[in-house]
């Protein structure tokens, strides 16, 4: 090996570094650095031209100072000068400096790009590699603009040296990641795929990273890589440990390449070609077999490399989710790792099992390890491992083991690390709700949760327990009793007081028969907590008190006295004062009848998705929970949210109570969702026929009904879209979730998420009546060119259950793929029978082209440059229109962000204007879009301008957006 001081030893640099290391204090170090900076500055400014060596030395010193954490604002020009030196070390240091201290000065960039260009065309492989490394390290948009078309050529040229190919492949990958729009697919792409067959393993290793990334974005174009990757993998897996010479790592043949191949295959579904698939399954089996063989070396590197491949293979098996045999073997293998002495393996096994738990083939196999996982939660010394164990318990939970898992999680919570408590609380709350068979268990669990970790119980959790208790009359008495007992504790958490106040205010009467919890005892207990509570809790308690007056007239005098005292009626807090005054007045003047009406029991809440789940998702980031959540849908079968057994009496009660004003503002979020206008069961069908929103469908249904077809499922043509379908669609341009449609019978809620050109939409159909909907069917038709049968949008879904019980909600998942840009939204037709009458309505699904936006950040300079590039008249669409909504800045910003683009600050010279940029991802192409919105507050007008690389997109976006502001 070369001695290090050889050739380029920069003595001055070594001395400087020693000096810095000898500094006794930070101050001394700064002093020494400032002295050096002054020296370098004077050298650079001096009259005497510096020779290459000195320049290199000083630039290197600056680099060292920068890497110590100090700011460097000069020396860039000298570094750029070094790039054109014909001495290799000088060039190399120049490039290093440029790569580390990226500078956006455009004059410098021009010079740098020139030097790179020279080196790329030098045909000297060492120089070419240096230049490519620099591009890959900097990876700026300017570099992409300058070199994105050149590099593919170098990559596939026949005479390019292997080492240059390797650098070119990864350099191109970096540019593609930063500026995908600038790397154009072309003739080179098919040749890149064939690099998988290259003789040089290093070339394959580098190229495969590029191919994987490109395949993700353009799977069709690259799908030939699947069979190539399988045969390459098969050759590696079956090779003896010495066959691959230097690519064998601690007796494991080509571990990096193997992992990358397995990762590439995860971009695709299982191979369709039987032979290829067979070969791949064989590979996966071999990998699983090898895990059982005795190790060829005791070194940890050997087992790590071997297991890295194993874990990647398991990821692929899970990704395919179609080979039960492999899934179960994978699970058994991970089970062994759960007890391994290496912490790393235990961690990874727990992590990997989490995803296995969501496969229907391996869910049961995962469950057999429950004791080991619980043990891990209790005994692992590393919090990150315990966290994984908690995640796995959550993932493997189902009805059969829910009680055990929830109990273990609760007991862990008592000692859990602060960093994971909130998440644990959410998880326990979700599991308790999802798998509650008897609701007393659910109530116990949540109250325990508040007792153990009250500080970490968010509003969503205690709101939810109240929703559920209100909606389930079989648990109300138990809840009242339990919460009463919990409140006996001398120090109980404020959240407990909130739940207690609310529940006793509603259902305290159910336990008032027992003298130990007589009305006055209940009241005194609640009031003993009052003074220790915050204002919102006190407000809630005041509402509970007025409810007490209604429930128990005998407490009236006591409570009026409390309300009347100065600390209430003259409280400095407006809310408390107002409540005290109003409640006092109400209780004094209203007759018992009026009081009973005003303070009636709360109506049931509409059944809907738990807000806790939403919170957990937010905490975990989008996507993170989607696997388990999908699984939820599969297994849950509508236990709580479906509310399948809600009898008609509940619905009728809901209807009669619908207009009861709630005296408590604390649960505002919930109250606002209380049902309004659910039709009473008896008259429902009549009213519906008159008011049905399905308009044109109703009469024809009646005709059908009398005929001989009446017992057959609905078979008529879909109704034309509702007249307000467009208006409903427009509500969802800038948001993804909400209620799409609601009439007297049916409510349709939507939740959707989009990523690149793919989307997933959850539709929730709620039966608002108490009568079953029969023959419930939905169909989605996609926009496309009817004559040429070309689809613009591909929407896949499964049929829904044909029966929707009264008060129940069913869910449907749509998988959406944007194939090319489109203007018309897909249509959703819903047909069902309600009391014999066929309902038929068609809506537009709010899938609009902007859903497939990826935001693009760019500087002002870039923005206007691109703006100018998109100057063809048809690329621009413009509209001037009157403001329909508030022109408030924050509202506008929120809408523009909701649109999916990046909102660019400091771009438009006029700060009043908004500019946005984004790329629309479709399967066939990407469309760059720029947007400018110019409000005129005085005239209450806007001017909206769009420029896109595809003219149909400009037009469509302009149409859509003009409705939004």
């Amino acid at each position: 090996m070369p001695a290090v001081s050889k050739g380029d030893g920069m003595r001055g640099l070594a001395v400087f570094i020693s000096d810095i290391r000898n500094c006794k204090s930070k101050e001394a170090e700064i002093k020494r650095i400032n002295k050096e900076l002054a020296n370098i500055r004077s050298k650079f400014k001096g009259d005497k031209a510096l020779d290459g060596y000195s320049k290199k030395k000083y630039v290197c010193k600056l680099l060292f100072i920068f890497l110590l954490g100090h700011d460097i604002d000069f020396g860039h020009m000298e570094a750029v000068n070094l790039l054109s030196s014909n001495k290799y070390t000088e060039k190399q240091i120049g490039y290093l400096f440029i790569s580390v201290l990226v500078n956006s000065n455009s004059e410098l960039i021009r010079l740098i790009n020139n030097a790179i260009k020279n080196d790329l065309s030098s045909r000297n492989p060492t120089f070419m590699c240096l230049a490519l490394h620099c591009i890959a390290n900097v990876g700026s948009r300017e570099m992409a603009e300058a070199f994105a078309s050149e590099i593919p050529r170098i990559l596939v040229a026949g005479d390019t040296m292997d080492s240059v190919k390797q650098s070119a492949a990864l350099c191109l990958l970096r540019l593609y990641k930063t500026s995908p729009d600038l790397v154009l697919m072309g003739e080179w792409t098919s040749r890149v795929v064939h690099l998988l067959n290259d003789q040089h393993m290093g070339v394959v290793t580098a190229a495969i990273s590029l191919i994987t990334c490109l395949s993700q974005k353009n799977p069709d174009e690259f799908k030939t890589c699947v069979s190539l990757a399988v045969s390459r993998l098969s050759r590696i897996v079956s090779s003896a440990s010495t066959d691959l010479q230097d690519y064998t790592y601690y007796f494991v043949p080509a571990p990096w390449l193997s992992c990358k191949l397995l990762r590439l295959l995860q971009c695709y579904p299982p191979p369709e070609d039987g032979a290829v698939k067979g070969r791949l399954v064989e590979c996966l089996e071999t990998i699983l077999n090898k895990a059982q063989e005795p190790p060829k070396s005791k070194k940890v590197q050997h087992s790590n490399a071997k297991n890295a491949i194993l874990f990647e293979a398991i990821s692929l098996i899970i990704h395919y989710d179609s080979e039960p045999n492999l899934l179960v073997r994978a699970c058994n293998q991970l089970g062994q790792f759960l007890q391994h002495r290496e912490t790393n393996l235990r961690y990874l096994a727990l992590e990997s099992m989490c995803t296995l738990a969501s496969s229907e083939f391996s869910h049961e196999a995962v469950k057999t390890h429950i004791e080991t996982v619980i043990n891990a939660l209790k005994t692992e010394r590393d919090v990150s491992v315990r966290q994984r164990a908690a995640d796995l318990l959550y993932a493997m939970c189902d009805r059969s083991n829910a009680k055990q898992i929830v109990a273990e999680m609760l007991s862990y919570l008592e000692t859990a690390d602060y960093s994971i408590r909130e998440e644990m609380v959410l998880k326990v709350a979700i599991l308790a709700e999802k798998y509650a068979v008897d609701y007393s268990w659910y109530v116990d669990t949540i109250l325990n949760l508040i007792r153990i970790a009250g500080d970490y119980v968010s509003e969503e959790v205690w709101y939810r327990v109240i929703q559920i208790v209100i909606n389930r009359d079989d648990v109300q008495g138990y809840a009242a009793k339990t919460v009463f007992e919990a409140l006996q504790a001398p120090a109980c958490h404020e959240n407990m007081v909130k739940v207690g106040g609310y529940i006793l205010g509603e259902f305290g009467n159910l336990i008032a028969g027992d003298p130990r919890s007589s009305p006055l005892v209940q009241f005194n207990l609640l009031h003993s907590k009052f003074h220790l509570c915050s204002v919102p809790t006190r407000a809630l308690l005041l509402s509970a008190y007025i409810k007490f007056i209604n429930l128990f007239p005998e407490t009236k005098a006591t409570i009026q006295e409390v309300l009347r005292c100065d600390s209430q009626i003259r409280n400095s807090d407006v809310e408390l004062q107002q409540r005290a005054v109003e409640y006092l007045k109400l209780s004094s003047i209203a007759s018992t009848d009026v009081l009973a009406t005003v303070l009636e029991e709360m109506p049931p809440f509409p059944e809907r998705e738990s807000s806790i789940l939403a919170k957990l998702k937010k905490k975990k980031g989008p996507g993170a929970v989607s696997v388990t959540e999908l699984e939820d849908n599969k297994r849950e079968g509508g236990e709580l949210n479906g509310g399948g057994d809600r009898g008609p009496d509940t619905a009728a009660m809901a209807a009669s109570n619908a207009s009861t004003p709630s005296p408590s503002a604390d649960l505002l979020g919930i109250r606002s969702a209380a049902p309004v206008g659910a039709p009473p069961a008896s008259t429902g069908s009549l009213l519906v026929d008159v008011f049905s929103e399905a308009g044109p469908a109703a009469p024809s249904a009646a005709v059908n009904d009398d005929g001989f077809l009446s017992s057959a499922p609905p078979s008529e043509d879909p109704a034309p879209p509702l007249s307000e379908a467009d208006e409903l669609l427009n509500k969802f341009v800038c948001k993804n979730n909400g209620v799409l449609f609601e009439n007297q019978l049916l409510q349709i809620g939507i939740k959707s998420e989009y990523r690149q050109n793919l989307g997933r939409m959850y539709l929730f159909y709620g039966n608002k009546t108490s009568v079953q909907f029969a023959s419930f069917t939905t169909t989605v038709s996609c926009p496309g060119d009817l004559q040429s049968h070309i689809l613009f949008l591909n929407v896949q879904t499964k049929p829904v259950e044909p029966l929707v019980e009264g008060g129940a909600q069913i869910q449907q998942v749509l998988n959406i793929e944007c194939l090319t840009d489109f203007s018309d939204a897909p249509l959703l037709n819903i047909k069902f029978r309600y009391g014999g009458a066929l309902q038929n309505l068609t809506l537009k699904l709010p899938v609009t082209i902007n859903k497939f936006f990826q935001p693009t950040e760019m500087s002002s300079h870039d923005f206007f440059q691109r703006w100018k590039q998109l100057s063809q008249p048809q690329q621009e669409a413009q509209k001037i229109f009157k403001a329909n909504h508030s022109m408030d800045t924050e509202v506008l910003k929120a809408k523009l962000l909701g649109l999916g683009t990046a909102l660019l600050d400091n771009v438009d010279p006029n700060p009043e204007n908004y500019v946005c940029a984004g790329v629309i991802q479709t399967k066939s192409q990407q469309v760059g879009c720029l947007l400018r919105l110019e409000p005129n507050a005085q005239a209450q007008m806007y001017r909206l301008t769009l420029r896109c690389s595809k003219d149909s997109v400009s037009r469509r976006l302009c149409e859509l957006l003009a409705q939004q502001f």
Partner: protein, 150 residues
């Protein structure tokens, strides 16, 4: 979805950064904050703990070699074990080049440490995993500089 690192940091037991390589565009301020937070987090961990941790939305893979910590940040779906061996291979390369590498070699020859890293990992992806080939490239460059500087 690649086996790619977002950044790599080398730091001493005293928390001094010895090498930093960023594969994603971040401002200087963000880099400083990330390194400071991460160094603190890792130094606070006990020796027998596992080599992986979730940190913000990244996965951190780290290992200590004598007085130096090597730490790689990868994306959520990336393979932890193979990343651990990326680190090890880099250590082997340094060791072979410097001849029993120690922290001082990296301090005094930081530019070499960067050059070796660039030959091995480019843009956060493994470019050449053969130890022989990487060292050959570096040797050739060293040779070139001698010829030129004569």
């Amino acid at each position: 979805m690649f086996i790619s690192s977002q950044f790599m940091l080398l730091f001493s037991r005293q928390g001094k950064l010895r090498l930093q390589k960023w594969y994603v565009p971040l401002s200087d301020k963000e880099r400083k904050k990330i390194s400071r937070d991460l160094v603190q987090t890792i130094l606070a961990r006990k020796p027998k703990m596992c080599s992986f941790l979730e940190w913000r939305d990244l996965k951190i893979v780290y290992k200590r070699y004598a007085s130096l910590y090597f730490c790689c940040a990868v994306e959520d779906q990336d393979n932890e074990l193979i990343t651990l061996e990326i680190i090890h291979r880099y250590v082997e390369l340094l060791d072979k080049y410097f001849g029993s590498v120690c922290e001082l070699d990296i301090i005094f020859n930081f530019e070499k440490a960067y050059f070796i890293l660039d030959e091995f990992l480019l843009g956060g992806e493994a470019q050449e995993t053969s130890k022989k080939n990487v060292l050959k490239a570096i040797e050739q460059a060293d040779l070139l500089q001698e010829v030129c500087s004569d």
